[in-house]
Symmetry: C2
Subunit: 128 residues, 2 copies
């Protein structure tokens, strides 16, 4: 059974103390208002100008600020298994998505794409 | 005089010891061969599937792996000045681009876009 995946988002993770000015900075830097996600209010984001690619700011409880990539997929178990075979490791499940670590250490997330047909031959990679 | 800018790339910075397997991992994860840049051989990259957005892997001499964002602009001094007013700081110049630090700490780069008209009202933000 084939599935699709794509790199869909870049996310800046920011501790609470720096969150508001970081959110204001990146919204102004990109020229896109970053709006709060109703279902996950720790995230603000916008689709980048003319691209099917999102910028998000995530509020963290603690830790130092960092940047991570999100991969979206229409088959989460199949995509996780594919990425594990390539050398990534599972770190933890968070809400509906999976946090993973790439071979050199940076974390990334694999997100199930809930809208049927959103990932297709025109905008994503098909894995047979 | 108006200028344009846009978020154009996500770059994974990787120390030499981890570079080759990280490059192989992300090329396979994205399903795009990441090819070496002739003029800057420490970089490999590809335009992401169906998007005007690039993924790059940069080989670092040392340090721990991290992810950063690149902003492209057709007027480097004007864009640096704009971002400084928003709260970013200059860190260093590297080749033709400027390394900056955002208000919460992560580094990002501002890159001059050498092809006239590449940045326009259809794919970038205009700053008057």
């Amino acid at each position: 059974m084939a599935h699709y995946s794509r790199l869909s988002k870049v996310v800046i993770d920011v501790p609470a103390a720096d969150h508001d000015r970081e959110l204001a900075f990146w919204g102004a830097a990109a020229g896109e208002p970053l709006t709060r996600f109703d279902r996950h209010p720790e995230y603000h984001g916008a689709e980048l100008h003319g691209q099917e690619f999102w910028l998000l700011i995530q509020q963290l409880g603690q830790g130092s600020a960092r940047v991570h990539i999100d991969i979206h997929t229409d088959d989460l178990p199949a995509e996780i298994a594919r990425l594990e075979k390539l050398g990534a490791e599972r770190v933890q499940q968070a809400h509906s998505w999976q946090v993973m670590r790439d071979p050199a250490g940076p974390l990334f997330c694999v997100i199930p794409e809930s809208w049927p047909g959103t990932l297709n031959d025109g905008n994503a990679q098909r894995w047979d």
